[in-house]
Amino acid sequence: MASPEPSPTSAPASASGATVKRPGFWRRFSRHRLAVLGAVILALLAIACYGAAFVAPFPQDQQDLLLGPVPPSAEHWLGTDELGRDYLSEILYAGQLSLSLAIAVALISTAIGVFVGAVAGYRGGWVDDVFMRITDLFLVVPAIALLALALQGLGPSPVSIVIVLSLLGWTYIARVVRGQVVSLREREFIDAARVIGATHQQVLMRHVLPNLSGVIAVNVALAVAGAIIVESTLSFLGFGVQPPQSSWGNMLSQASGLIGTPKV
């Protein structure tokens, strides 16, 4: 405090004002080789799936009934199904649906979870108690069973899949956010902001949430991955995406019946 030099945190802010970026997110990110690798794989996957019209070797659902099912070859890299449809193209087109569902679920469930967790952690008291009991309830019954039950009731359309997965998926991030907010709440800068006259809403939005950006970003990434698996699992069990629409899960489900049968 008594050091004669200006403190390093205040220096850049006064030097060039608004143009100064916060210590580069991209620089920190790019130093993580595994994270970069993951991002590159995900980007390639997304480009291949959403650009399937240009990337895929065959048009969607193009049948070749005379060809029938063939093993992988130079023309059909992953072989074809019983209607002679190219599996690689089918996988790419199915990925559009699987990825879109997963991204929607990740964003919606994270948004709900962050909102509930932040409010519960910041308000404390009975709001917090009620919230904790609700997440306890969600822990008790296996999620996959609840999902199947809910989809049976709502009917398995892509929209209801997104709604049901989001409504069941928010509790994890809500718990994490709540825990972080409870400890942030006691920090000096929150008191300082309150003393200056910031409302509770401003404190939450401007001072608490930015401190959680790391946790939230990680959760969105994990939630996309988790949602892809859950959607595939549900479709595999027959409660998810229904034919003729294909997703990664129901493609696998249809193919699984062929295991142990001789080659044709």
């Binding site: 009991r133 306890d136 309830l137 822990l139 008790v140 019954v141 296996p142 999620a143 996959i144 069973a145 199947a148 039950l149 809910a150 049976q152 009731g153 991955a225 698996i229 595939s232 699992t233 595999f236 069990l237 027959g238 696998l252 489900s253 699984s256 295991i259 142990g260």
Partner: protein, 322 residues
Amino acid sequence: MLRFTVRRLLYSLPVLLVGSFLLFWAVRTVFDPLLKLRAIRDPEVIARETERLGLNDGIFTQYGRWLTGFLSGDWGVSSRTEGSVRPMIESALTVTLQLLVWGVVFATIAAVLIGVWSAVRQYSFSDYALTGLSYLGLALPAFWFGLVLIQFLAVWPQQAFGWDKPAFFFIGLSSPGQDPSFIDTARHMVLPVLTLTVGLVAVWSRFTRASMLDALSSDYVRTARAKGVPRSRVVWNHALRNAWGPLVTVVALDSALLIGGLLVTEQVFSIPGMGRLFLDSLLAGDVFVLLPWMVITGAAVIILNLLADIAYGLLDPRVRVA
């Protein structure tokens, strides 16, 4: 310790009560218990059954009646098989527990060995290799991995060696029309238990590694090493003893959730356990099985959670204050 246990027990009762009511309400809203009878199109039958089951009463009355029946051991009759529900759930539970116990035992042993190995050699080649493998294990969905195991360990060897039966079976838990023998059951259990174990080891070994690293960097480990306790004893006696706590909680909670959560493994290997029972009942709209099923699995989670807390208290006296 006793007070702690009793308090936790009393605290879980309302959770179970509210949870079972919400489930009752949800199932009652989503499904029509008389679905099967509606096909007959006989208004007299519908009216009689509605009267007999008291479906016109308020939801609380219906819940109360169901709960009294459930607690006194009368779990009703399945609308799918027309058999009594209780033996159905009991036999499914036995089958699932058989799988689960073997899976959990193998997975715990493997996870502790792998976790301790990686923690002791942190940032070595083997640590990175095991970390990579466990991420791979996390990314493999059970339905895919189970199918791959069937293809690689059962179908291909059988074709390659021209056996008349595969080395490991992948349908059910015993061969039909044969007296159950140990060898036969074991040949049925290998693949599903392996599927289950790989997924669990991936998660649990990460936990063991993290909590071992935590323990190994504590002061008492340095003290023990400084006064000359051999390294292996420090690792296995001092550090592992303290690293057990979090692992026990995770193992208990995950196992509890798997009682009803083995849907996929049981579906892939056609095993008549709790998961299959749930799916079959759900597809048939059999509310009479769904409700007790959910209450049993929910109660299992709460009880195992409680046991985990007690075990944690026994392993680590510092947390007994609560």
